[in-house]
């Protein structure tokens, strides 16, 4: 099989992994080598589905011994199979990189023979890029759950990021669709990476020459809509992973109908709105001080689709509003619908100079229509009286026919990914690979 045919099969098979971020790692250029990493990844192109092309995202092979029903590469699928040799992946990465097509490599793989054998192949690609070719661009490797600590060690010394995919939020979900996959095995791998990273950071506090280990951290992915689990289960799983294993990101991937799917799965367009709301809720947990349990209720374990989770929370807690823009604490302002992290920080800066009026909100980058009912400021704000109206939600949520299968356009809580990517110099505080930039479903491993 020629290289082009392999690339087509193995890129097609890799596209269901949502992660495309190349952020979080810094590496200066080197006259003898190739490339650098500047902390904030660059999207070099965008596909017609609006997703960013930042890395050469391919599978090493799509042969697989597992039979995860949501995955196009499962053993029982009749998809065409291909396999690279390590030198081909190395050459493709370098050639694409030299032409400024990509930031680096995201290598994943179906599991062949065993977790260890597969991990060893991927680690060899990373080693060759770094040691044989002085490659200083970004490398993201898939950590095969259950791979031995020695191989994770080898991979982690060369990779900027490792990710072990959980794919489904609960063990019963996995038992149904991915019977070979155990949450404990995946989390064991995550735990190991986390511990090893902390050790490396400790060593680097002692000496800057100490080797890094997965400097851009680890991530994982959850597939949305392939099983009946409600959003609360996804948020609980994400919360656990952030707290226990120090994950940098959890990616949510709307289940996409894949060619030759398994009959156990729902046949419909991917639930993009639901994916979008989960990203918003995830953002609220990581940057807005919300806990997972605040975002859904036992009676409504799913996030509302027609308005964002922060507005939903505020409508349930109207007694806490209105807030005074000129005196409220940062944590409280972050909970006002329509105020993002940037607007809040601008409000805090601006109000030290002079007292703010409601009219100032627009100039501070906030959504005035949405914020108005929840705040007071210098001067009158007639909208503050609407806070207790029964129809407040209807007044705030545009009465349009919500096409649940149309792709959402990012608005309100989550800032525009492309713009904030440029403005926030904090790696991974950016919605780099955010909602609509985020792709479809899941893969193996």
């Amino acid at each position: 099989m020629d290289l082009r045919a392999k690339l087509t099969i193995l890129a097609d098979a890799a596209k269901y992994d949502a992660s495309c971020s190349s952020s979080g790692s810094r590496r200066k250029g080197d006259r003898n080598g190739l490339g650098n990493s500047e902390g904030i990844g660059i999207c070099h192109s965008y596909t017609p589905d609006g997703r960013c092309v930042s890395l050469l995202k391919i599978l090493f092979t799509n042969h697989c011994i597992y039979d995860c029903q949501y995955c196009i590469n499962r053993v029982s699928s009749d998809t065409p199979r291909a396999r690279f040799v390590p030198s081909e992946v190395v050459a493709l990465t370098l050639d694409f990189y030299r032409r400024n097509y990509i930031e680096g490599l995201f290598l994943s793989s179906g599991v062949i023979r065993s977790a260890d054998y597969t991990m060893e192949q991927m680690a060899e690609v990373a080693r060759s890029l770094r040691e044989d070719h002085g490659f200083r661009g970004y490398i993201h490797l898939k950590a095969v759950p259950g791979a031995s600590p020695e191989l994770i060690e080898r991979a982690g010394l060369h990779a900027d990021r490792l990710s072990a995919n959980l794919e489904l939020p609960t063990q019963p979900d996995l038992d149904r669709l991915a019977p070979d996959k155990q949450i404990v095995t995946v989390e064991q791998t995550m735990r190991h990476i986390h511990a090893r990273r902390e050790q490396a950071e400790e060593e680097r506090r002692g000496s800057q020459r100490a080797p890094t280990f997965v400097p851009a951290g680890q991530t994982t992915q959850l597939i949305v809509g392939a099983t009946a689990s409600p959003d609360a289960a996804y948020l609980a799983a994400a919360d656990r992973l952030y707290k226990n294993h120090g994950l940098r990101r959890v990616y949510y991937s709307a289940y996409s109908p894949i060619p030759r799917p398994d009959a156990r799965l729902p046949a419909k367009s991917p639930p993009l709105w639901r994916e979008h709301r989960l990203y918003q809720a995830d953002w609220l947990m990581r940057h807005y001080g919300f806990s997972a349990s605040e975002l859904t209720t036992p009676d409504a374990p799913d996030l509302p689709l027609d308005h964002d989770p922060k507005l939903a929370w505020a409508l349930r807690h109207r007694a806490l509003f209105p807030l005074d823009l000129n005196t409220a604490a940062r944590e409280a302002l972050l909970r006002v619908p329509g105020l993002g992290v940037h607007s809040v920080d601008r409000i805090l800066a601006a109000r030290r100079v002079r007292p703010l009026r409601v009219d100032d909100l627009a100039r501070l980058g906030a959504s005035v229509r949405k914020v108005r009912p929840f705040v007071t400021a210098l001067g009158p704000n007639p909208e503050a009286h609407t806070l207790d109206r029964v129809d407040l939600q209807a007044r705030l949520v545009p009465a349009r026919q919500l096409d649940l299968f149309a792709a959402p356009t990012p608005r309100v809580v989550t800032p525009d990914p492309a713009a904030s990517r440029l403005l926030v110099p904090v790696p991974d505080a950016l919605p780099g690979a955010l909602p609509t930039a985020g792709p479809a479903l899941g893969r193996l491993t």
Partner: protein
Amino acid sequence: MTQVVTVDGLPSFRAAARDLAARGVRPEDLIFRDAAAAQAFLPGLDGSAPAAPHAAGTSRAPDAPRAPDAPRAPDAPRVPRRFLDMAEHVACHRDPARWAHLYRVLYRLLHGEPRLLDDPADPDIRRLAQLDQQVRKDMHRMQAFVRFTRVETPDGERYLAWHRPDHRIAARVAPFFADRFGSMRWSILTPDEGVHWDGDTLRFGPGAPRAEHDVPADAELLDLWRAYYAAMFDPARVNLRKMRADMPLRYHATLPELRNVHDLVRDSSQRTQIMIAKHAAPAPTASDALPAQRTLPALRKAAASCRGCDLYRCATQVVFGEGPEDAQVMLVGEQPGDHEDLEGRPFVGPAGKLLDDALAAVGLDRGTLYVTNAVKHFKFERRGTRRLHARPTQPEIRACSTWLRAEVDVLHPRMILCLGASAAQSFQGPSFRLTASRGEVFDDTPWAPWWMATYHPSALLRMPDKDARAAATEAFHADLRKLAQDLGRR
């Protein structure tokens, strides 16, 4: 009294503005004229420009392109560092009013409003921030959208690119490329200027109004890149608005991967519909037959109606596990054989006899153990009147693992001993290798605190080589001894 100031770059603006602001000249009394607007401005060639952003010829990279500051008077006005950072970007903007904006903010900073920059709602600050952002975004896009083509020249390979930025940013972005592609020799041309890197030094020269189409292209790599781009895209999620927001149309001409994008999009909805239409009616799974009540008798009864795989079609009956509900040890075999299929009980044939003897030899009573199989139906091939054992496939093992897990959940065994690779794989997945892990005790597994895999008795019976059989039988007995010992210890 209105005064006209001609500016041809940030250093000359800084020199002039510092002086004007110190003298208290008000912004409304000044008109800033852009030298670049008056004459064809070719940075690096125009040696007469006293303070061009990168005066004539060369500058050492990659720490270019800021020119050294003019000597600073001891009483020179102090402005916040942030303002200078913004000014560096704003100076590259094409807006002719940029110098006036900069001066107005500078004047206000120095005349009674030192904290002006902290008020993002101020109209002047807002406008300046917009210009700053537009330039930074443009720089970021240049880093993203420059596409090099490799060409062979008499003195080695070179990488060439043409890019049209919105603002005059090529010199500011050049150090990024010098750092990233330090070992390559490359040139980036823009309509305003050209940037060249020879592996050591950045040089600036004239630009080119448009891309040269007669550059012999890097055909093979372009083809691979286009193939990659087409394969990356998920037809179920087309969102052209998002694509164009991040990658405006004006860049498309120089992005080789976009050449066939219309074909990709045209076929996408059709491809999605085909995918959805291919969907068949749901196939039954083993979990469809699981009873609401989880007890061993209920499971045994429900298993008879399982349609999770096709083995039920040929087998006589389900052979479910048996043993006391309070058993501490669970033995798991592969699947029932000929005898078991007819009798409906596990391990009653020749293999069962061997197992019973081996258990007795280490002092274990089979009646105290729970004995079951990974696959609960007999799978066979007919040879005349005989039914020969056939190995279950992974999907069959997997389908039946639902029942095995249910048995484990009811029993909560303290120890699980798997007999054979199929049984072990039912727990550990298809990557489990009996040859590598036989006899190894796995502690604190999700299924039991003690878990081990050993040979299946039938495998011992079938081994043709006498020595191998003796060794395997010895190992089998050793594993059972280990089981008995550890059971006694707990």
